[in-house]
């Protein structure tokens, strides 16, 4: 069986972290599974975890009455789910549902927040990595907002 | 004696090159010979205060004793103090009027059993034409359009039919307009050899006459039927001096050194905003330009809906619709459209067809209602530094 150390150590998100920080990460990590249709996190709830998806697909949903709920994005193998745990007020702004059977590594955000406050070098490494993800998602969202395939009149 | 000998030898050479002297009163005979060979003779004539190209019956239709005064946004005809037949420079029209008509029906079709058939699209009544009075810049323009419409991936059959048989009687420029800049574009004022016959008008104490040269078999054939005398070296020198004078009179020029890179690299030059503030996007420059070839097609059908035709019409990159793709036009601003026209003419044309699209005739300067001067725009971009920031 793969150890958490190996999985975390080999994941690109954690690449370049020194051994000490990696150990900190592993100490905050645990294996989790979600059956299809389960909500992994829900809009409005406290955000204290983030996930590294190892298998399956997660849908980020937004309720937008009077429209039907829409999936704004999906998150798949190898991707990171959730960053609201990093920024106050630590509340989820979307819901995330397992589209199919999802295996993931959950990282305890509360634990990591505290460690980042205590060690700003770690904090900077974590923030840099999340800033990269936020940037990619923002780029993709901007393109998505352009609705490039729509009929323009 | 030695001098006489030398002159005689030079005269022989002039005669061998086919250079002859044609008296001015023989121009009618020239027209007659062309008509007899089946050509419709077209050339300059005065109409509506301008010298235009039209059907010529006789030398009486030529702009005898007229000249043109041209400046940015300015064109006036004036009486000359002599009886010169070709004593003007260029009018608003060019020979593309004939070779690449402003409006032409490409084909017609009719409905038949739920589908359609294309009707006979062969054009009737296309006489070969003789272009009397083509200037050096205009021959350069014809060569430019030949490259675009005949010598690229496809041949334009419409252009081919009209251009193919045309008999060209060039006329050397013996004066320049204020708007001329052919010398800087390397297209004139001297006509080189892209003609059947070439005339240089001479008017002095020795009388009103033309130095006449032939550069093709059919030109030589016509020449041999005209009443001429061999040209003397003196005639030849006098003619050459007049053409030289036309070059020296030119007050405008474009420095074409590295012009492609200049315009490509200055896509964001502030001068484009400046010219956009003046340009009315009226498309006059493209209509009068002898090389502009862009067209649009329009499908029309009759009221029964059973008969359809496709017409091709001159179009202009100055119109909004020109660059329309699904969702809107690519070039909406006047800045983008002027930049497209000028960059195409002077820069991308070189990439596309191996030469400049500008022949220096100056028509775009004369016929611009606000007098935008392409030579001035190039100079401003060149002198403004990269993107006009210096």
């Amino acid at each position: 069986m793969e150890t958490l150390e190996r999985i975390i150590g080999e994941h690109p998100f954690f690449a370049g972290l020194d051994a000490g920080f990696l150990n900190l990460m592993v100490s905050c990590a645990s294996n989790v599974r979600f059956t299809p249709g389960t909500y992994i996190l829900k809009e409005g709830e406290a955000a204290n975890t983030f996930y590294l998806v190892r298998e399956g697909k997660v849908a980020l949903e937004l309720l937008a009455p009077p429209h039907k709920p829409i999936i704004v994005s999906t998150i798949g193998i190898g991707e990171i789910l959730g960053w609201s745990w990093l920024m106050e007020p630590y509340v989820w702004k979307f819901s995330a549902r397992a589209v199919d059977a999802v295996r993931a590594i959950a990282l305890d955000g509360r634990c990591l927040r505290t460690k980042c406050e205590q060690n700003h070098d770690l904090g900077y490494e974590v923030l840099k990595r999340f800033a990269g993800i936020v940037e990619q998602r923002l780029d993709a969202t901007r393109l998505q907002l352009l609705d490039v395939y729509a009929v323009r009149r | 004696m030695a001098t006489l000998n030398r002159l005689a030898t030079a005269d022989d050479r002039a005669a061998q090159r086919g250079e002859h002297i044609l008296a001015a009163d023989q121009v009618g005979k020239l027209i007659e010979l062309l008509v007899r060979r089946g050509y419709e003779v077209v050339g300059p004539t005065v109409r509506d205060g301008a010298i235009v190209y039209d059907h010529l019956e006789s030398p009486d239709d030529l702009p005898r004793g007229w000249t043109d005064e041209q400046k940015p946004g300015h064109y006036r005809l004036h009486r000359r103090d002599d009886e010169a037949l070709f004593g003007y420079v260029v009018g608003p029209q060019s020979w593309k009027k004939y070779t690449h008509p402003a409006e032409v029906r490409l084909w017609a079709a009719e409905r038949q059993n739920g589908t359609f058939r294309i009707l006979n699209n062969e054009e009737k009544g296309q006489h070969p034409r003789a272009f009397l009075g083509a200037r050096a810049c205009e021959l350069a323009a014809i060569a430019v359009q030949d490259r675009v419409l005949l010598e690229d991936k496809y041949r334009d059959p419409v252009y081919d039919r009209r251009r193919g048989g045309a008999f060209i009687i060039a006329v050397q420029c013996t004066q320049a307009a204020e708007t001329c800049f052919c010398a800087s574009m390397g297209t004139g004022p001297q006509v080189s050899d892209e003609f059947d016959l070439a005339l240089t008008e001479l008017l002095d104490s020795k009388g009103h006459r033309f130095l006449l040269a032939a550069a093709s078999d059919r030109g030589t054939e016509i020449l041999s039927e005209l009443k001429t005398v061999p040209a003397t070296e003196e005639d030849r020198q006098q003619a050459a001096a007049k053409v030289d004078a036309a070059a020296r009179q030119q007050v405008r020029s474009i420095d074409t050194t590295g012009i492609k890179e200049l315009l490509y690299e200055n896509f964001e030059h502030r001068r484009w905003d400046d010219v956009a503030g003046r340009c009315l996007t009226c498309a006059n420059c493209t209509m009068v330009c002898p090389t502009c070839f862009c067209t649009s097609v329009e499908d029309v059908s009759d009221i029964s809906g059973d008969h359809a035709e496709r017409w091709r019409r001159w179009d202009s990159c100055f119109t909004q619709n020109f660059s329309y793709i699904h969702g809107g036009s690519v070039r909406t601003s006047a800045k983008a459209r002027y930049r497209q026209w000028m960059t195409h003419k002077l820069a991308s044309w070189i990439d596309q067809f191996g030469s400049s699209g500008c022949v220096g005739c100056g028509r775009c300067i004369t016929w611009c209602p606000v007098g935008i001067d392409i030579t001035e725009e190039v100079r401003a971009i060149r002198e403004g530094g990269r993107n006009g920031d210096s």
Binding site: A140 | F116, D152, Y154, T295, V297, C317, R331, Q352
Partner: protein, 280 residues
Amino acid sequence: MATSSTIDPMLPQPYLVREVSKETPDTFTLRLDPGNEARESVFRPGQFSMLWVFGVGELPISISGDPALRDRLIYTVRSVGQATHSLVNQKVGSGVGVRGPFGIGWPVEAARGRDVIVVAGGIGLAPLRPVIYQVLQNRKDYGRLVILYGGRSPRDLLYRKELAKWARIPETQVLITVDYGGIGWRGHVGVVTTLFKYSRLHPARSVAMVCGPEIMMRFVIRELETAGLSRDDIYLSMERNMKCAVGFCGHCQYGPHFICKDGPVFPYERMRPLLEKYEL
């Protein structure tokens, strides 16, 4: 009878509409053939035709069929205006005028021996489908085939059955995403660029062929370059106002290029200086 070499490129040839099938609510695939005339339809993937509807007008439409089938011409047309609306509403048996095929297509032949990455957005899959047909028919001549396809929403996806079929072929990866997914959609949601992280690419041996809205192509190029593809191995299909299709009318000029005769497919290296110029 006229052969293709003597046909005036400006004259439409009559073809008959044999089938019109609905792909999405606004997009239809038309099958045409020359009726009783023994005229073969030879084209290369990525080429386009000018389709003319009697009394309505003419449109440039990419050929979306199988180049190996020479008895027909297949077009996938999105109804977005009067002329396209009229085209997709043609009755079976009616006549449509066809000029072409025109233009330079995808480098499918030159890509032999290499992996082929097809990236399509929206209707952009139509001009790439002939590439897919040709690669799959000569499967052993090519390495991996990766198809990345982004659509607006699940119901706007073209060729869904074929995509599912292609996904089952060995050494073929098909990834599909939509910009807007309802909660019933089990596939990916996000723009086409978000699919790259799931694709398995070997940049050094890959050729990418990209077709979609210009902005989508620009984002895709960034991903391809990040993945390590050389600029010379990325090809784009450009859209401009094609009217005559033979380089006479001037409408489709894009910098020094005529999209109709120099394209519509260009190596990215040649488009690169132009793509970010506004109002070129």
